[in-house]
Amino acid sequence: NAGVTQTPKFRVLKTGQSMTLLCAQDMNHEYMYWYRQDPGMGLRLIHYSVGEGTTAKGEVPDGYNVSRLKKQNFLLGLESAAPSQTSVYFCASSYYRGQETQYFGPGTRLLVL
């Protein structure tokens, strides 16, 4: 039981490049979330999904897209990376009904030059 895993762990991009961050969970959780964490700040929600095939915007969605084609995977895409997207990205999942605890992945550190 690996829990929540994230790929890659670290990436350097040039401005304008694109990339996809992958989040996978093996706990059969319905709900999945993408957050970003910047120095001195808590986590801010980018997008989330309440089930396979569904996605919704969070607090800071601009510049990101997501897809949830399979229940166990939640992808975060950056179509044209900007230096302001330099951050640490965390994925989380939860089985909402009756258990609101979120389980977090180890994070992806992204540097956009």
Binding site: M41, G42, F90, Y96, E100, F104
Partner: protein, 111 residues
């Protein structure tokens, strides 16, 4: 910003002392949660307190919730060097499970 606020931002204590962190939030909640983050790692859930609860204990952790003041506190008793980490409160409202995080308290426990 929807973010909650935590204070203090940083706290440094000696091993064996108690550590108290405070959190304020902005909207009505279903529950409030506390998470811990070790340097360079993901967040780990510590404890959850529901809106109809006032106090909850888990081991050396004690959480209180005052919904009239929209505030919560986390007390870690008899702290250990291994408790050194950042601690975040997160409020949950609505039916999507979304969490609104505070900005965190960085705790350093000196041996």
């Amino acid at each position: 910003s929807q973010q909650g606020e935590e204070d203090p931002q940083a706290l440094s204590i000696q091993e064996g002392e108690n550590a108290t962190m405070n959190c304020s939030y902005k909207t009505s909640i279903n529950n409030l949660q506390w998470y811990r983050q070790n340097s360079g790692r993901g967040l780990v859930h510590l404890i959850l307190i529901r809106s109809n609860e006032r106090e909850k204990h888990s081991g050396r952790l004690r959480v209180t919730l005052d919904t009239s003041k929209k505030s919560s506190s986390l007390l870690i008793t008899a702290s250990r060097a291994a408790d050194t980490a950042s601690y975040f409160c997160a409020s949950s409202s609505g039916n999507t499970g979304k969490l609104i995080f505070g900005q965190g308290t960085t705790l350093q426990v000196k041996p």
